[in-house]
């Protein structure tokens, strides 16, 4: 299973510049999260924060963890986990919305 049928790489998969760009994007998104928390967004406040966080997490998973360049199966597995957390949070909010 391990490496058969897969190309062998003798150089870095992603140019280092990409990592720095991703890092920059993460910093900017953090700034965004903090800034929007000052807006009065009432019901969508948590949702906004979660969306930004999910986007940041995806960047980390895709680039820093190389999932973009791996077998599809890993992406599916991670999606299952993501969906699970979405359900966890959704169910928790069944409490908060109706309280």
């Amino acid at each position: 299973m391990q490496t058969e049928g897969k190309p062998q790489f003798d150089h870095a998969l992603v140019p280092y510049g990409v990592y720095f760009k991703v890092w920059g994007a993460l910093v900017l998104l953090t700034v965004l999260t903090v800034s929007v928390s000052y807006l009065d967004m009432k019901h969508v406040r948590v949702l906004t924060a979660l969306l930004i966080a999910t986007f940041k997490g995806s960047l980390v998973v895709l680039y820093f963890m190389h999932i973009r360049f791996e077998e599809r199966m890993y992406a599916y597995m991670i999606m299952v986990v993501l969906a699970t957390y979405a359900i966890f949070i959704g169910l928790t909010f069944v409490d908060y919305w109706y309280r």
């Binding site: 699970t84 409490d95 109706y98 309280r99």
Partner: protein, 539 residues
């Protein structure tokens, strides 16, 4: 037994003898040795936690204060809960038997990441040491659930036990990760997904729950510490926090954790019952899918711990419904086991006796769970001795009993020694009696209003507590007898043959004890996991 073939007809040294010396154990990456290390480090904690329970049960023998102050009672109770949950029942079956047998059962030489596997044991030991230190410097009094606001405010230290739980969480995640990777990557080529033994399936499903749910509790514990030490108001309502959020997050992990405990146990039952009925497991695929369904639905029912915590009504109804729902796949399994035994040639060897005990005790635990799941009833039963009884029936009568079943089933393979059957039966019998005597009265006391986590009670509850305390003596004695019998066999037991029970999974087709890389040559995959040579086909 002596007429059986010698323990190993093969030439390779077995894993116990492969490398001598303590150091070779402490640096081993052999999944079997790691399983044994887990077993050896877990049992002392189990016995200590059990003896704590015997102590505080003694306090409850009569109303009024006997020999423990309220404070001491709370602390003993908390340590009992923390150790039993985080050091025994959650790691229990996967870390000991999963580590030892999962690779063998799928024809692999080891797990995918053997070093990470060793690291998970060191995490376990570090967590255990932290828990010990916390007991030495002043045990916590929060109860094992560390609920806020109490855990943020109480005087005794909570940092150490929480840090212990946090690190034990790593250990659990690493084990789960290893199992998932191993099943995907190292399964023998000839073994399809639906040819894997059911124990492996259950560990696979559990592995996912360990990976997905455990980080949640890690984060939660860190949040409590942030609030406690840095004053960040996450759970303090006066400053915009929400204490119920703690309960959500805690149970998002800790409810799935009960499936981390019980799914592997169900997997063990699915191995033992066909072996001792000499009959192919009934409804293989249904058992597989019910494991997955339990892992999935079981992750969504945490709110049933919070029916009286001030959740919204809608949420309470949703969680109540989901909880009823999770009973369905569990019942599917029970029916499959019973159907497997039906018309089989049942052999009541000690492991089978424990497995049957499981079916009875776990069913009581599960059915009383349905009562708890009914919103209206739970308002009355919540935080009473009823719940204490319910969860001992599921965790102890369920997973704990299967831990012992697995010990008796696989002991000969792991150590190459047969234990004394008569004593094993005797221990099982005393256990059964002691168990019922300890916990059945608590159902009655609880339904009549006896609260849990109380060091004292009104005189009308005395009779229940008297019976329960006496029961706990039998229970504890049976545990000593059971473990003593096994340990004694290490020194005086007869040599075990390759397959003392005639099991059909791969571990019974390699030497006893197995060689370091599990098989001498290629594993023999000519027969399925549930095809017994002398199988009787009943139509």
């Amino acid at each position: 037994m002596s007429s059986q073939p010698a323990a190993s007809p093969m030439s390779l040294p077995n894993y116990l003898e492969a490398r001598p010396g303590i150091l070779s154990w402490l640096t081993t990456t052999d999944h079997k040795r790691i399983g044994v290390l887990y077993l050896a480090s877990m049992m002392p904690f189990f016995l200590v936690a059990a003896s704590f329970a015997v102590m505080f049960r003694l306090e409850l023998f009569s109303p009024g204060q006997q020999f423990l102050t309220n404070d001491q009672y709370n602390r003993l109770l908390t340590v009992h809960g923390v150790v039993m949950i985080f050091l025994f029942i959650i790691p229990g079956i996967p870390a000991v038997f999963g580590n030892f047998f999962l690779p063998i059962m799928i024809g692999a030489e080891d797990v995918s990441f053997p070093r990470i596997n060793l690291m998970s044991w060191y995490c376990y030991v570090s967590g255990a040491v932290l828990a010990l230190i916390s007991v030495a410097v002043g045990p916590p009094d929060t109860g094992w659930t560390f609920y806020v606001p109490y855990s943020v405010k109480t005087h005794p230290n909570v940092l150490l036990p929480m840090a212990a739980a946090f690190i034990l969480g790593w250990s659990s995640i690493l084990t789960g990760l290893n199992f998932v990777a191993t099943v995907h990557r190292l399964r023998a080529k000839a073994m399809g997904w639906f040819e894997m033994p059911l124990f492996v399936w259950s560990l696979y499903a559990t592995g996912w729950v360990q990976i997905v749910a455990t980080p949640v509790v890690g984060i939660t514990l860190v949040m409590v510490l942030l609030e406690r030490f840095l004053g960040i108001p996450i759970f303090d309502p006066a400053r915009g926090g929400d204490p119920v959020l703690y309960q959500h997050m805690f149970w998002i992990y800790s409810h799935p954790a009960v499936y981390i405990m019980v799914l592997p146990a169900m997997g063990v039952v699915s191995e033992i019952i066909p072996t001792f009925s000499r009959k192919k497991i009934f409804g293989y695929r249904y058992i597989v899918f019910s494991s997955i369904a339990i892992a999935a639905i079981g992750s969504l029912v945490w709110g049933h711990h919070m029916f009286t915590s001030g959740m919204a009504d809608v949420a309470r109804i949703v969680f109540s419904f989901l909880t009823f729902f999770v009973a369905v796949p569990s019942a599917v399994k029970v029916f499959n086991w019973l159907a497997t035994m039906y018309k089989g040639s049942v052999w009541l060897a000690p492991p089978m006796v424990w497995a049957l005990m499981f079916i009875l005790l776990f069913s009581i635990g599960g059915l009383t769970g349905l009562i708890n799941a009914s919103l209206s009833l739970d308002v009355h039963l919540h935080d009473t001795a009823w719940v204490v009884s319910h969860f001992h029936f599921t965790m102890f009568g369920g997973t704990g009993v299967i831990f012992f079943a697995a010990l008796h089933y696989w002991w000969p393979k792991v150590f190459g020694k047969m234990y004394n059957n008569t004593i094993a039966y005797l221990a099982a019998g005393i256990f059964f009696f002691g168990f019922l005597a300890t916990y059945l009265p608590l159902f009655f006391a609880g339904a009549r209003g006896m609260p849990r986590r109380y060091a004292d009670y009104l005189p009308e509850y005395e009779i229940y507590h008297k019976i329960s305390t006496i029961g706990s003596w039998f229970l504890f004695a049976s545990l000593l007898l059971l473990l003593g019998n096994l340990v004694y066999s290490l020194f005086k037991g007869k040599r075990a043959p390759i397959s003392p029970w005639g099991g059909a999974t791969l571990e019974w087709r390699t030497a006893t004890p197995p060689p370091t890389l599990n098989f001498d040559g290629e594993p023999d995959l000519s027969r399925g996991a549930y095809e017994y040579p002398e199988q009787v086909d009943h139509d």
